[in-house]
Amino acid sequence: MTEITLIDAVNMALARAMANDKNVILLGEDVGANGGVFRATAGLQERFGEARVIDTPLAETLIAGMSVGMSAQGFRPVFEMQFMGFIYSAVDQIINHASRLRNRTRGRITCPLVLRAPYGGGIHAPEHHSESTEALFAHMPGLRVVIPSSPARAYGLLLAAIQDPDPVVFLEPKRIYRMVKQAVEDNGEALPLDVCFTLREGTDISLVTWGACVHETLQAADELDKLGISAEVIDLATIKPLDMQTILQSVEKTGRCVIIHEAVRTGGVGAEIAAQLAEQGLMFLMAPVQRVTGYDTVMPLYRLEQSYMIDVPRIVETVKQTMEYA
C-alpha cells in the first residue's frame, strides 16, 4: 500500500465512486483535461470520458444549478467550485434549491449531490482564494457539511458524501492537500457522516478543531504534553450534523475545552459548539470554553496572511490560560 496525500485520496475516492456507480458525474471548471487546478480530478476524464467528467463553462450558478437538475434525474453529481471565493454565486442554488427540494416536494425530488471546494488560507494564494466560510453552509437546514483533515478521512468521508442521498458540502483544506502522506487502502469503505474523530486521548483539556488547524492543534498537544498538560484532540470532521456526544463525553472527562478554527470568530461553528457545551455540559466545565479563531477581518493578502493564521503558540497560550482557572 503506497502512501498518498489528501489530494490523492480525494482523487482515489472520486475514481472509486465513479467505477462503482455510473450515475456519479463530475463537473466543474477545469476538472477535465487539466484535472482540476489542484489535480483532484487528474486522469479521471481520460478514464471515464468527457460525458462523465464535464468541463463546464465558467459559470458557478450553472454548475450548481445543473447539478440540481441532474440529481433530480437520479445522477449523483460531484461538482467542484475552484476556490471558496467563487462559491457564492452557487450558494443561491445550494440554499434555495439543493437543500430544500426534498422538503418542498415531500420527498418526491431529491438532490444527492456533492459540492467539493478547496478552502482555507496559508498557501499565498491571490485574493478571494483563502476564506473559510463553512459556517454559512452549516447554518443552512438540509445540508451536511464535511471537512476532512487526513488522507484516510478524505477518502472515507468523500465516499460517504457521494453515497449520501442528500446534498453534502465537502470542503477540502487546501493547505494540507500535500502536507502529509498516509497509507490509504482503496477499499471503497465509507466513513460515517455524523461522527467526530478523537485523534489523541488526553485527560486535562479537550481541543476541538477541524480542517488544516488539526495539524497545529496536534503539534500544540505535543508541546502541552511537555508542560505536563494532557490534551485530547478531536477532529470535528462532520461540521453538520455536529457530533456533540463525542465532544460532551470528552469534556466530561477533561472539564475544559478550547475550540480552534481558522474561520472568522463571530458566528463561526465554534460559537455553536460553545453554546451547546453551555447548554449540555456546563456542569462538567471547570473553566470557560475558549476559542482560538480567525479574526473578524477580511482575509489579508499574502504578506499579512500569516498574521491571520492560527499558529501553535496561540493554541498553547490559550490552553495555558484555560488551565489557570482550575
Binding site: 459559470a59 441532474m70 416536494t105
Partner: protein
C-alpha cells in the same frame, strides 16, 4: 471591415387581435377539435384563476399570482409537451401544469401554504414552481443533460418572465444549452411587467428573443395572445430539441392583465388606459371569436363550458378546503432521507411541546 455575424428575429402571428387570419394556418389549426380543446383549457385556467383570487380575498388562500391574460402560452405548450418531458415552471403556468396532470387542488394547497402541493401525484418528475427568479434555468439544463446522457428523447421545458431574462442565471443556462446541444426549450412569457418595472426598463434589446443569440441558439418572437402562433412555435421548438438537440428560446408577447400577485396593486404604476387597451388583445376572446366565425362555437357551448369549468374548479376547491392539515412535526420529516440525531432531538422537543 467585414461583418462576422448578423441576426434577424422573426415574429409570428396567425390570428391578429381582431381574430382575423393573417397568414395561412398551420395544419393542426385546420382541425377544429384541436382549437376547441385549447380554447376549453384556456377557459378552465381562467375560471380557476378567478376562483383562486376569490379564495385569497376571503382569507382561504395565501398570496396568489394570477395568470390572467397569459393563458395561451402555457396551454399551447402544455398541449405539445409529451408526458415524459419535464416542465420547469416559474409561476404563471397553471394551464400547462393542469394539462400535465398537476391537480388544481395541488396548486391551491401550495398557495394555501401546504408543501404537499408540490408533491405532484401526476407528473412525478416535473419541478415545482420556482419563486427565486430565473434560478430554475440551470435545473432545466441539468435535466436536459441527464436526458442526453441517458439517450432518451425527452425535453425539458422551462418558463420565464421577461424580467428573468435580465439575470445571469438565464444567460448561463442558454449558453450551456447551446454549447452542449441540449434538449431544452426556454419559453419567455413577456407579459410586459416584472412587478412594477416595464420591459423597456429591463433591457435595451429590441426583443428578448435575440438574447438567445448570446447562447448560440435560435430565438423567435410570437404573439403570445395568439395560441395558434404559440403552439406552432412550441411544436417546432420541442421537435428540434427532442430530435436534433437544438435548444431554443421562444419569446411570447402577452400582457399581465392581473396584478403581479394578490399582494400587488398595479394601479400604482400603470394606467387604466394601458390595461384597457391590452384587454382588446387578450387570448381567450381572440380564439373564441375565431371559432365563432368558423361556426365551431356559440353562446350555448360557451355557457355549457363555463358551467363545466366552474363545476370542475368547485370540486377541486372542495378537495383543497377538505384536506386535513399536515401534522406540525412534518416540517422535520423531509429534511433528509435519514434524520440526523440533532434534528431528531428538536423534533422530539417540538412534539412534546405541542402535545
Amino acid at each position: 471591415m467585414s461583418t462576422v455575424a448578423s441576426f434577424e428575429i422573426n415574429y409570428t402571428q396567425f390570428l391578429n387581435e381582431n381574430s382575423e387570419v393573417c397568414q395561412p394556418l398551420p395544419p393542426f389549426a385546420e382541425d377544429p377539435s384541436t382549437l376547441i380543446s385549447m380554447y376549453q383549457d384556456m377557459v378552465l385556467t381562467r375560471v380557476f384563476d378567478k376562483k383562486a383570487i376569490a379564495l385569497q380575498r376571503t382569507g382561504k388562500l395565501g398570496t396568489y399570482p394570477s395568470s390572467l391574460g397569459q393563458e395561451a402560452i402555457s396551454v399551447a405548450v402544455g398541449h405539445v409537451m409529451q408526458s415524459n418531458d419535464v416542465l420547469v415552471p416559474y409561476y404563471r403556468e397553471y394551464g400547462a401544469q393542469f394539462l400535465r396532470g398537476v391537480s388544481m387542488k395541488e396548486i391551491l394547497l401550495y398557495w394555501g401554504g401546504d408543501e404537499r402541493g408540490m408533491d405532484f401525484q401526476g407528473p412525478r418528475e416535473d419541478f415545482p414552481i420556482c419563486v427565486p427568479i430565473a434560478s430554475h434555468g440551470p435545473h432545466a439544463v441539468g435535466l436536459a443533460y441527464a436526458f442526453k446522457l441517458r439517450k432518451t428523447p425527452r425535453v425539458a421545458v422551462a418558463f420565464f418572465g421577461d424580467g428573468a431574462t435580465s439575470k445571469g442565471d438565464f444567460y448561463e443556462s442558454i449558453n450551456a444549452a447551446g454549447l452542449w446541444n441540449l434538449p431544452v426549450v426556454f419559453i419567455i412569457n413577456n407579459n410586459q411587467w416584472a412587478i412594477s418595472v416595464p420591459t423597456k426598463n429591463q433591457t435595451h434589446c429590441e426583443t428578448i428573443a435575440q438574447k438567445a443569440l448570446a447562447g448560440g441558439i435560435s430565438g423567435e418572437q410570437v404573439d403570445g395572445n395568439d395560441i395558434i402562433a404559440v403552439r406552432h412555435a412550441a411544436e417546432k421548438a420541442l421537435e428540434q430539441a427532442r430530435n436534433h438537440g437544438q435548444p431554443s428560446v421562444i419569446e411570447a408577447i402577452s400582457y399581465r392583465l392581473c396584478d403581479h400577485t394578490t399582494a400587488d396593486d398595479a394601479s400604482r404604476y400603470r394606467s387604466d388606459d394601458e390595461v384597457k387597451a391590452a384587454w382588446e388583445k387578450e387570448p381567450v376572446l381572440r380564439l373564441r371569436r375565431y371559432l365563432e366565425q368558423q361556426g365551431h362555437w356559440d353562446e350555448a357551448k360557451e355557457k355549457q363550458l363555463l358551467a363545466n369549468c366552474t363545476q370542475q374548479v368547485e370540486a377541486q376547491v372542495n378537495l383543497y378546503l377538505d384536506t386535513p392539515p399536515q401534522p406540525p412535526e412534518s416540517m422535520f420529516d423531509y429534511m433528509f432521507e435519514t434524520r440526523p440525531h440533532d434534528l431528531n432531538q428538536q423534533r422530539e422537543y417540538f412534539k412534546n411541546r405541542v402535545k
